[in-house]
């Protein structure tokens, strides 16, 4: 793999990781479509709570923490790839470095 390809791959990875993380975190903290898709969740209970209430808080907070930690690890790796592939690389312009 050439350095240009490595940079291109790192670029795509950064955009993809950010977009996916954004969407996943947004859905986890806004799981209201679940209420409309599965209205019966309100009738079930988990640890004494209505299932939708319990799931909302658990997914939006307790599950969010490890998911965010995983994102941090992945994004650090991507940042490292970006740094490694681009350090010392010439600018991708007709004149190279200005």
């Amino acid at each position: 793999m050439t350095n240009d390809e490595r940079m291109q791959a790192a670029y795509k990875k950064q955009c993809r990781t950010t977009l996916i993380a954004f969407v996943v975190i947004t859905l986890m903290t806004h799981i209201f479509p679940m209420y409309f898709l599965f209205p019966n969740l309100n009738k079930m209970t988990i640890f004494g709570f209505p299932a939708d209430y319990w799931l909302t808080i658990v997914i939006g907070w307790l599950v969010l923490i490890p998911v965010f930690w995983i994102y941090i690890q992945i994004s650090e790796k991507v940042d490292q790839e970006i740094n490694d592939s681009s350090s010392g690389a010439a600018d991708n312009t007709p004149g190279g470095h200005p």
Binding site: T29, F32, G48, F49, W61, I65, S86, G88
Partner: protein, 688 residues
Amino acid sequence: MSRLLALIALFLPALALAQTAEPKYYVFEPSSAVSTLGILYTLLMMGSFLYVGWMSKRRVTSSDDYFAAGRSFGGVSNGLAMSSNYMSLATFLGFTALLWKMQYYVVALVLSFTGGFVLISIALAPALRRWGKYTSMQFIGERFGQTAKVVAVICMIFLAQLYLIGQMKGVGNVFQVMFHWDYTTGLVVGGLVVTAYVTIGGMYGLSYNQTLQAIIMLIALYVPAVIILLKLGAGPASFFPPFGYGELVPQMNEAMASYFNPFLTVNGTVPMSFKFYTGVFFSIACGTMGLPHIAMRYFTAPSIRDAKMSTLWGTVFVGLVFFTTFAIGFAAKLYTVNELNAQGLQIQPKEADLLIVVMSQALTPGWIAAMPVAGALAAGFSTIAGLLMVIGTGLGSDIYSTINPSAADQSKVKMGYIFTALGGLATIGLALNPPDFLLTSVIWAFVVAASTFTPVLILGIWWKGANKLGAIAGLVVGGVLSGILFFGKGKMFGFTLIDAGPVVHLVTGIFTMSAAWFIIVVVSLLTGGEKNEKILREIDRIHGWQNYDPKRYSGNTFALATAAFALVLMIWSAMPDPTYAKKPEAPAATAPAPVPAADTATKAATEATEAMKTATDMAADTATKAATETTEAVKAAADTAAGTATKAVTEATEAVKAATNTAAAPAAAPALVAEGQTPPAQPASGQQ
């Protein structure tokens, strides 16, 4: 007026059955132990804050120290500081009151707060931190030019003041109610203390104090919550309050069936729609992303990784406080329904703000009951301090360096001192006579942040095509539209643009943020996009690149696709919500009330009478404000009455259906409600 008369006519039979006794309201009076210990805790706390601020002054030798705490604040301590910066007096006291009134809807709001907090560190914070300045406004200035920076600073000052006046007023009110101090004295003392320690210690003083305040808040909330839940019979789970009240849920379901219903809000009288929940994301989560004082904490971290880890810790602490507040809110609702309502007492909205203290005083020893007072003030101080710091930095660094580009570092620090102090004094002055719209001003701040800063920051970081004209147009359109629609409750120049029911403020966020986004993309594309290579190179650098490639972050497809989506959202948000579509007056006025519903109808009528009486009193008190406000009050009473009436009729219909064992599908509840709002058939028996 004719609608009101129709309602009165409807209630006449029920009124005849109802008791006409004056409603009794619960009046909170702090015990001497709570008051004395509260003063003691508060004085100790304020002394500590001033001491920490004074000690921090020694570390301030440059503008980096004053405005960004020397970029040395990471990990757990920054996480604690982030969480206390985010959680305000409104969080500490207001969530309990909101739960008491809105129930499940607050869960959506709070989760959205948490989500926004994390989304900043994914989409914005790493790039802003790499840019290496102190505020979002500086980024906007360097990315889009000085005019955009000035517009951004104006937006920031307005947002900060909306936030600050509410917090300052809250501090004054806590002193007034808890310690019987005059409101002005409490406001001036509290305001001066916080202004002094922020001005003296700069970002260092602010950061250390916010860390300390987060610890105080956690203790002040956790200890009373555990005891309250234990006393109410929640068992061993009480020791983890966020999930400690499962055993009490059946009691709540019996006392108030709508508490855990995600499709109803406002005491079970208002149906929730998908659009309402969508509005939560655009107003609250996206608003959080744009708040300058939240983004500012990322600039204090030594590295990108530290900034992200701080967010992770912040999420832990924010969740602990938010969901412990839920536990207390739950307990307060249960206590209100089972104890106070049973004694014939009702809670007024102003007392609802103090429910956490009410509960603590009723169920915990005095030395613990005084803790929430200290916790609430710590929460208020931390947010006020964060906002004052952003004002000081915005004017002392951003604007001053624009006016005087060759200013020495020390003179920027001096300007920081001056403008932070002036910001504090101005806010105290404004809070002496706070405006009427305070209750919704914080939500408005979120909507404006979502409609101004958020689209400009996201597009400025992730799309090289965004340019100066697009950013300025987006900031102006987003700011002006959100202002007009918020204050006009969805109306613009007399025309109803957003018609989405009682939480219209949040739904306007969908429209205004989408409009700002759409405008930035369209104007930028029409004006040729960003051409300045220096800026384009900077965009690569803030994403971690060591070299430059003009093709990166420059795809117009992404921008056009999001703009098209924004346009769809604008249209959707402007369309009437079917849940609230106006319906013709229903024949239910003549429907006989079945026997099982008689009690409920009587209760509904009593509540309606009380609501109308309250509205009349309000109108009388504010006679000088004349017809407009009076009409609003009567309309509110009519809405409340109508909601209750519909509920009663719905319950009646349910009862008849059950009795006759009909296999027919549930009939729609009679549309008698003002505004044509028809709650689904869902009984709610709790009183407030």
